[in-house]
């Protein structure tokens, strides 16, 4: 068994940023384990632009953003293994991986950084009634077929779910010559970013049906049509509103789930809300020495924040390897009214070195409401937001000075209020 200070599971945006940061913080040995044939992760198939405005102050495409970090990994000579799948991680950080060249690889890691991203919710997870025919894909799979492999999937397309990948694929399929008939969203609001509704749907006259869903699928071998129905407030289809829409392809953009099978094997406690690990301010999970960042922790809408989060996580992973100890993070950050979850989940103010950055999502749409952070019931931060939507990750920053000015912090609440 070989020993490596920092083992990083996943060579996408989170893993790459974590690797670069670990190196810069002086880690002696680092190894990135990547399942795919190249570094870059999902960014490689996200050929559209809009990445990097925060990080690089310019608008990059996914592959360009990835290349910035891949180049750094190469320059810093950080080792990585491609085509390598992690099959086990123990609570004492023994990592087992396999690839076709080395066979089974066993590594004792000083610290493990989970950066494996997320998966799409598949057709099986949403239980649509009807035939089991071909022509049904998740939007991300479709994106890989079109943008990487060069295959077109169909001619008449319905997209169920208005997540960003679904919206991006509506435009992409249109540009490739398909007729995208509609995007169907069960909620009364889109789960994608507004800018994508504008530039991916409105620009091409693709209708978005809110409060609608697909209730059945028809097709002998290939998909022939789907039934679309309006839903009521409890999301149940309204009788009589059904209509059959001819199509040969159904794309699903119905949510992303952090991929945490390996974390579970290492006894990492997961959040029922995010599906990611419950982490403290150092991005350390409930299993000491195992850290999590990026979409495996919680689904992000901006890769720029993935990079930032992963850099922070890696710094603390290096601290762990060096035996630096921190006070126990035993103060919960509670999601208050209108807030679904927060990352981190718990903190210790003595461990905060610069600012406390809290990322969170709101549970529904709000307009002209305040985001507030309360410590021991007293507001320490309040910001008026003209519009809040669940699709956009929110950030609240509390400076270290502010935290230190409160002598006995017992509880922290993040809420949406008037």
């Amino acid at each position: 068994m070989k020993n490596v200070d920092i083992v990083i599971v996943g060579g996408g945006p989170a893993g790459l940023a974590a690797a670069v940061s670990a190196k810069r913080h002086g880690a002696d040995s680092i190894l990135i384990l990547e399942r795919d044939a190249s570094l870059g992760g999902i960014l490689n198939q996200c050929i559209h632009s809009g990445f990097g405005l925060h990080r690089f102050k310019e608008e990059l495409t996914g592959p360009e953003y990835a290349q910035r970090y891949i180049s750094l990994v190469e320059e810093l000579e950080i080792p990585y293994l491609l085509g390598t799948t992690v099959i086990d991680i123990t609570h004492d950080r023994k990592v087992t991986a396999v690839n076709s060249e080395d066979g089974v690889i066993e590594i004792q890691a000083g610290a493990v950084i989970m950066a494996a991203g997320c998966r799409e919710r598949p057709a099986g997870a949403i239980n649509i009634y009807g035939d089991r025919c071909t022509g049904i894909y998740t939007a991300g799979t479709a994106q890989k077929f079109v943008n990487i492999d060069g295959y077109m999937l169909g001619k008449k397309i319905i997209i169920l779910g208005s997540g960003d990948i679904g919206l991006i694929m509506a435009r992409r399929m249109t540009l490739e010559g398909a007729e995208v008939k509609a995007v169907i969203e069960i909620m009364p609001f889109s789960s994608g970013l507004n800018r994508n509704i504008v530039q991916c749907l409105n620009d091409f006259g693709i209708p978005l049906y809110l409060s609608h869903t697909v209730t059945s699928i028809k097709g002998d071998k290939r998909l022939e049509s789907v039934t679309v129905a309006e839903v009521d407030q409890s999301l149940k289809p309204i009788k009589g509103s059904e209509r059959e829409v001819e199509c040969d392809t159904l794309l699903l953009s119905v949510g992303l789930l952090p991929e945490n099978e390996m974390s579970k094997r290492a006894d990492v406690v997961l959040s029922g809300v995010t599906g990611g690990a419950v982490v403290n301010e150092r991005f350390e999970t409930s299993t000491p020495g195992i850290f999590a960042c990026g979409n495996v922790l919680h689904v992000h809408d901006l890769v720029d924040y993935v990079s930032e989060e992963s850099e922070r996580a890696a710094k603390y992973a290096v601290d762990f390897v060096r035996g630096r100890t921190y006070a126990e993070s035993d103060i919960q950050i509670t999601p208050g009214s209108g807030v679904r979850y927060t990352v981190p989940f718990k903190i210790n103010p003595h461990n905060i070195e610069d600012n406390l950055v809290i990322r969170f999502r709101v549970s529904t749409r709000y307009s002209d409401k305040r985001i507030r952070v309360l410590i021991n019931g007293e507001p320490v931060m309040s910001r008026l937001e003209p519009a809040l939507v669940p699709a956009e990750m929110q950030t609240a920053v509390i400076s270290r000075e502010k935290l230190n000015a409160i002598p006995d912090i017992r509880d922290i609440v993040v809420e949406v209020g008037d």
Binding site: I47, G50, H54, P63, L175, I197, D203
Partner: protein, 122 residues
């Protein structure tokens, strides 16, 4: 004075802009969290522009498709013409980020450039 509500697409924040304009001239704008919003609103009212991203075939590369983009935004009305220009284009591997695939596409002043570095197939 005409009033327009629009969503800025310059970055993923997607600011909701309230614009009051007269003959394409912006008189009042609110909701933008940075200065790009103002430029966007003005362009959107007079001559909307978009960066176009797509793929071209890559011969002999590790991956069969090479992602490309317009080096700057082109008129929105030319999106499909731009895609048509690229339909039968193929390039030989290797390719590197920034490689110019087509110069001055459709006379827009924008080049079609590669957005991924892809080596030759082994």
């Amino acid at each position: 004075m005409e009033k327009h509500e629009m969503i800025c697409i310059c970055c993923p924040r997607g600011c909701r802009l309230n614009v009051a304009a007269e003959g394409g001239e912006i008189k009042e704008i609110s909701g933008n969290r940075c200065r790009r919003g103002e430029t966007y609103a003005k362009e959107e009212l007079t001559h909307p522009m978009r960066v176009v991203t797509t793929t071209v075939q890559l011969n002999g590369g590790k991956i069969p498709m090479l992602p490309v983009k317009t080096s700057k935004a082109i008129p929105k009305a030319l999106i499909f013409d731009c895609i048509d220009c690229l339909r039968d284009v193929s390039v030989d591997a290797p390719a590197a980020i920034g490689d110019v695939i087509i110069k001055d596409v459709l006379g827009t002043g924008a080049d079609i450039i590669a957005t991924r570095t892809i080596g030759k197939r082994d």
